[in-house]
């Protein structure tokens, strides 16, 4: 995090003043970074560029909906195929894109192209926040459109708070994975190519097209190891009040998220000097 000026005197009062100054400096840096990065994408400047990431899940939902409709595939749960797919794809892409966006926040050579006030964790926080906002705007716009224009009543969450909680849990896992990716990629450069492919492939194992509780018992145990699948089920509970909850372990999602976040912060902090040397 950013260092701040000190020297406002000794004693407890001085320390409190220093802490307050540090917080102010930290907030200033985060706000300035937020507005700069909101207009940047891959080094290029254009307004609302952070919304560009939101397009991919919409395209995925649209293409799978069209494909399944043409093939005559019925929704595995509920009456709307598009809503069922969207309640799977949106949280999964929350994870995928957060992990990728946060990875770019800790880009190679970042320490060479920054002011001293900008620390890697500042970039992580800002990029994660921007992605959270863009995904939220996209999700609200999409589910709202399904409700207003397509007449899908269930598109308005039955329990909005559940949707928020599930999204936050998945978001934490995505942000943590992004930080871990940044560290892994410095040791294994090909990871930057592998991870997007692995993440997108994992889409199919996280329950966008199926109800995990309806899987055959012999494979259910393997799928239960996937925390994103639990997150998707959690998210779907917000839309479907009677969604089968046999494979929705909130504690598992939160524990995995907490472990990933702790590991990511520790690794990022302890490898700063190594990463500088590598570059």
């Amino acid at each position: 995090m950013s260092s701040a000026a000190a020297g406002s005197g000794g004693g407890f009062r001085g320390e409190v003043d220093d802490f307050r100054l540090a917080l102010v400096a930290q907030w200033r840096t985060l706000v300035a970074l937020f507005f700069r990065e909101a207009e940047m994408r891959r080094g290029q400047s254009f307004a609302f560029s952070f919304l560009a990431y939101a397009l991919e899940p919409l395209i995925i939902i649209a293409t799978i909906s069209i494909l399944f409709s043409v093939l005559g595939v019925a929704p595995r749960y509920g009456s709307s195929l598009t809503l069922f797919l969207a309640t799977g794809v949106v949280p999964i892409y929350m994870f995928i894109h957060t992990s990728m966006r946060v990875r770019t926040a800790v880009a190679p050579g970042l320490h060479r192209i920054r002011y001293a006030m900008e620390q890697p964790l500042d970039h992580v926080i800002v990029h994660a926040a921007l992605h959270m906002i863009s995904t939220s705007i996209m999700a609200i716009g999409f589910f709202g459109s399904l409700y207003y224009f397509a007449g899908v009543d269930q598109a308005v969450p039955f329990e909005p708070l559940t949707a928020v909680k599930a999204s936050l849990a998945i978001f934490v896992m995505g942000a943590s994975m992004g930080m871990l990716n940044a560290v892994i990629a410095r040791f294994l450069p090909i990871w930057d190519v592998l991870w997007p492919a692995i993440a997108r492939a994992s889409l199919h194992f996280s329950g966008p097209y199926f109800v995990a509780a309806f899987l055959a018992p012999n494979v259910r145990g393997y799928f239960a190891l996937n925390p994103i699948l639990h997150g998707v089920n959690w998210f779907r509970h917000a839309f479907y009040p009677f969604y089968p909850n046999q494979m929705t372990d909130h504690g598992f999602v939160l524990t995995v998220g907490a472990v990933m976040l702790t590991a990511a912060l520790l690794l990022l902090n302890s490898s700063v000097r190594y990463l500088e040397d590598k570059e």
Binding site: S3, A5, A6, A32, R36, S45, H111, Y115, V272
Partner: protein, 228 residues
């Protein structure tokens, strides 16, 4: 005050450039960091600025230190000149409009404020970075080898800004030129082979530095008076 405690820095697979440096540096005076080429001056300035991380040891900054004057790596070429200045002003707690006005006035680039930075010439970007350094309010300004740049009239402006800032702030000037240290500084940190000695009187520091120079090395008397 800047407290360096057992500060060590080595580039990868190299011997330490800074080796176990423990010293208190004044942040409100004109301090020269004197050292020959490859003695670790730039490394120490970057460490003080927080641009690189010490291998071991710590730096306690009891003052607001600038980035090295003329530092351009915080710039984004795709952003406009105004956006770049605004960003720097915001993170360093200055009024963005005032800073833009100051930089535009000093550099004469007022008409370019809304143009992407990449549209500016290399010289204009350099001038901007120096003007920006002097425009921001720091307790201590850092200089790595130079504190002026560009055409004679801009160099004169830089010198005037240096003098003006040094009346209210500290200055840390890394240089290999003894004359620059004597002319612009009043105390010195002399770097010799990874080790450093602080002198409260710059004359003593300069004498120790000159004594350390190899006999074959040309006398550093021909340098520009600005330290460039």
């Amino acid at each position: 005050m800047i407290r360096l405690q057992s500060l060590t820095y080595a580039y990868r697979k190299g011997a330490p450039v800074i080796d176990g440096l423990t010293v208190d540096l004044p942040s409100d005076r004109r301090l020269a960091i004197l050292g020959a080429q490859q003695s670790g001056k730039t490394t120490l300035v970057q460490l003080l600025a927080g641009l690189i991380t010490p291998g071991s040891g710590s730096i306690e900054r009891l003052a607001r230190l600038s980035f090295p004057a003329g530092y351009q790596r915080g710039f984004r070429m795709a952003s406009t000149l105004g956006q770049n200045i605004t960003f720097a002003a915001k993170i360093y707690g200055a009024d963005a409009d005032e800073v833009i006005g100051f930089v535009a006035d000093v550099t004469g680039l007022g008409a370019m404020v809304d143009r992407p930075l990449r549209d500016l010439s290399v010289q204009d970007r350099m001038n901007t970075s120096f003007a920006l350094t002097y425009a921001l309010p720091f307790d201590t300004y850092l200089f790595d080898n130079t504190f002026t740049v560009g055409e004679p009239d801009f160099r004169a402006k830089c010198l005037a800004m240096f003098e003006a800032r040094s009346r209210t702030s500290g200055m840390i000037v890394a240089t290999k030129f003894a004359r620059t240290a004597s002319q612009f500084c009043d105390c010195a940190l002399v770097l010799i082979k990874g080790h450093a000695t602080y002198y409260d009187d710059v004359a003593q520091g300069v004498a120790a530095y000159e004594q350390s120079l190899p006999v074959a090395q040309p006398k550093p008397a021909a340098e520009a008076p600005t330290g460039a």
